[in-house]
Symmetry: none
Subunit: 245 residues, 2 copies
DNA sequence: AAGTGGTCTAGACCACTCG
DNA sequence: GAGTGGTCTAGACCACTTC
């Protein structure tokens, strides 16, 4: 589990800082040692330390105030809307403990809305998995996923968990060539609030995603996030190529 | 031709490169001059040029191959979600009646979070507009926008309404070259629930958008949508090439 | 005045690719 | 071997905040 030998020094400096964050040595709001002090402690030049801290700031882990100091950010995790990301990877990348618990896995007859979402005839047989993703033991995402058996016949035979999430498995066996995202806000159902351990009145961010391969739908998933624990975001260049409409 | 020069040299190097890209001097797939050559042309040190090119690479404008060269990235597809849309156009396109009512328009001293969002010093003077967008007389979006006066000095002199929304005006006078979207779910504040004519307990989809022009922030806006009346969506091809971390 | 981050320089060594 | 990017150093000057 312990991986050493990041070759780049600035990488090791970043890892060092993230280790302190992960270990809770430096907590949200704390001021961390100055660049000068880190130069002494780690034996690197200030430019190298500066690059490490600058990148951690861009990634949202730190907040720097010129003339004052560097502080641990109050983290409200944010993931990229454009990419198909594994929430597990995101959490691990933040240096946090990740877990995934499968609540349901089986084959069932598609209800009308599910069949419609997958563009299958009503009554078609589909795979269905429900799991909860947790960060540091706190549920951050409820995944309610339907899979087209025609595309992924071996889906049920997998041993899903923190090391093999459904999303990860699907990406590995069948890379999608198109996807659709729909985002909305809603309150959780009573089941959902129970699984996520939140109040029935807490607003949730719901991301519905469908992915295609060769013009056929691979999977349809609803990802439900408590608003207090999750955000979606993206930053990207604007193409000059579109006026309006 | 004459531009207010950004103070930081690496910024000017970035602007120089982006100017070449915008002007079409360097096109997608082209190899651009090496660091060494840019050092000579711009009269900066290699570290400075390197930082500029590294950041442009992280932002997706360039692709660098060690030992080979630096190339202009192929432009990325863009989704509806990530496109800057006018809600008025959307509503009109649906064949519905659209209206926009300005609730507030003026200049004020930026609070700390607003100053931070705009990357301005605390206490800076900013423009602030609040308006409600309605479809068939029903409010569907509350727009709470801050504008950088340095970028858009004539903002307050405009006569905003259904025929000239703030978003439309901004797009017309200063096309952004970069943007950031963050989406979250929340309950409306009491003021917001009043303006939107919804219950204080109705979940809302909140889209926060910042746009950049020439590496400076033009505007920061919070768009609040009652979940029962609005969704965001996108469908787009998947790029094969994704980097991690 | 002392401390902080923001930036910049003019070198340097390395691994890599290409002809 | 020449060219490229990737990284690193040991200084430096500046603007800013805090005491």
């Amino acid at each position: 589990m312990i991986k050493n030998a990041p070759q780049a020094l600035y990488r090791r400096a970043k890892d060092f800082v993230q280790d302190q964050l992960r270990a809770g040595v430096w907590k949200a709001g704390d001021m961390i040692p100055s660049e000068h002090r880190l130069v002494e402690e780690l034996g690197m030049s200030r430019m190298t330390i500066n690059r490490a801290l600058r990148e951690l700031t861009e990634e949202g882990h730190l907040v720097r105030i010129s003339g004052v100091g560097t502080f641990v950010a109050e983290s409200k995790p944010q993931s990229n809307l454009l990419r198909i990301t594994n929430i597990g990877d995101e959490i691990v990348a933040r240096g946090h403990q990740y877990s995934c618990k499968v609540l349901h896995l089986g084959r069932e007859v598609a209800s009308m809305p599910v069949a419609a979402a997958l563009s299958l005839p009503t009554g078609a047989s589909v795979f269905h998995v429900i799991c909860v993703h947790s960060e540091e033991g706190i549920p951050v995402q409820l995944e309610d996923r339907y899979v087209n058996p025609e595309m992924i016949p071996d889906f049920l035979q997998q041993d899903f968990g923190a090391n093999l999430q459904p999303a990860m498995y699907l990406l590995q066996v069948l890379r999608p060539d198109e996807m659709e995202h729909i985002v909305e806000a809603s309150h959780p159902s009573s089941d959902e609030s129970k699984y996520l351990q939140i109040d029935i009145n807490e607003p949730c961010l719901v991301l519905m995603r469908r992915t295609w391969n060769q013009s056929k739908i691979v999977t349809y998933v609803r990802l439900i996030h408590p608003s207090s624990r999750y955000r979606l975001g993206s930053r990207l260049p604007v193409n000059g190529a579109h006026r309006d409409n």
